[in-house]
Symmetry: C2
Subunit: 223 residues, 2 copies
DNA sequence: TTGCATTTCAAACATTTGTATGAAACTATC
DNA sequence: GATAGTTTCATACAAATGTTTGAAATGCAA
């Protein structure tokens, strides 16, 4: 086992470089230079470049999922096993947005790395991502407990849209800021989370009479 | 000018290969083999690999934007310059979803290419994408005409979320299908469009009293 | 210290990649 | 049908990249 400090140095350097410059144009030589270790060290400690990337992603992924489930548990415990739907959705999108948005994001390597993962999509990561489904099912189950009369399809679409809004906000922060000329304050993380959650809650009723009534109400207002 | 058939063959072959295998692992040699032309032909006709990719993307992008604007114009003409908000949003997300979803997607190279563009993100394309903002502003303007009393911020977020849902659906069709065990029918393109539009319309009222009332209503129902 | 396993290192390897070159083939104009 | 411009072709180039190798260094137990 020894000191492991070479291994850690590689992980840290790789995450930093990937976060800053993306997966596309960071070579092993860049990484070992940043980490001040020998070129062969990567293959010695990780086997291959892809396995290094995979380890980085898995580590951060597990952290994210742990945090999500922790918040989900909190939400359900507060309601004696039945969480408020907004809190459940907040547990789903909150950790991502809190991790990847906000003014202090510039200082968190892990955050910027996960943003990269959301923007680019390298095969080594795509393979792992497919295992995320079991994790999401836990949220579907919790949503079902809270809204038992909702059809499954509505729940799936609701979760899908919630993730869509969160991830697109992370991915396209720059475009939204430019488009809105800074009027959309993505640094107000809690505000963004509230907004996403609110829309996601509404999305869950997209097939319902209530929502159709709302749509009609808006149409009237527009006249 | 001459025949241009080499040029076209390269474009067609490149689009097909990129659509099938992604930008990451398609080399110029793969492309020229598929197109039955000489290796040097790519640099002769396009200058560089990146310019070839750029031309492919620009072509498809212009098509998409043209179609969006056509539908937007239709929507506004139907209402004497003021379109129904749902129709405006439909003009925004409809072309993308109609192009990239549905059972016949397997047969359209252009569609699969644009899906790739949504999944992967290569520098050559990212650069061009930033010019999309002017295009989106036209939709903001149309939305503003229909909902003049809405604050700009609400409009920006609404458009952002609409695109988020559409693009994530294109990007993560597979995950949604797996997660829902096929219960979410993404082949029903019109159904998906309706759903996205409906949620997007609701999102536009995320800061309003109406939506807060709806949220409260749902909370009551959940009890 | 000796011996053994782990880790580091410099160097080389083997491909793969986009691009450049210069001659040949082709095309169209006069 | 000669000439000039365009296009095609085989081949070479140069650089980059992940990986391997075998020896040197290091750590550690007996």
């Amino acid at each position: 086992m020894a000191s492991d400090q070479t291994r850690s140095a590689i992980l840290a350097a790789a995450e930093r470089l990937y976060a800053d410059r993306g997966f596309g144009d960071v070579t092993l030589r860049d990484i070992v230079a940043e980490a001040n270790v020998n070129l062969a060290a990567v293959n010695y400690h990780f086997g291959s470049k892809d396995e290094l990337i995979a380890e980085l992603f898995v580590t951060r992924s597990l952290q994210l999922n742990r945090e999500r489930l922790r918040e989900l548990r909190e939400a359900e415990e507060a309601g004696n096993g039945i969480g408020d739907i907004a809190d459940i959705l907040r547990a789903l999108v909150g950790p991502t947005l809190r991790g990847c948005l906000g003014p202090d994001t510039q200082h968190s390597t892990a955050a910027r790395f996960m943003i990269r993962v959301n923007i680019e999509s390298v095969p080594a990561i795509r393979r792992i991502r497919n295992r995320e489904i079991d994790h999401l099912r836990k949220f579907i189950a919790a949503m079902k407990r809270t809204l038992p009369e909702r059809s499954d399809v509505e729940l799936y679409w609701g979760l899908h849209f919630a993730l869509a809004m969160a991830q697109q906000t992370v991915r396209d922060t720059e475009r939204l800021t430019k488009l809105s000329e800074g009027k959309c304050d993505v640094d107000d993380v809690d505000g963004v989370i509230d907004r996403v959650v609110r829309v996601a809650v509404m999305a869950l009723s997209a097939g319902d009479a209530t929502s159709k009534a709302l749509t009609r109400a808006m149409a009237r207002e527009a006249r």
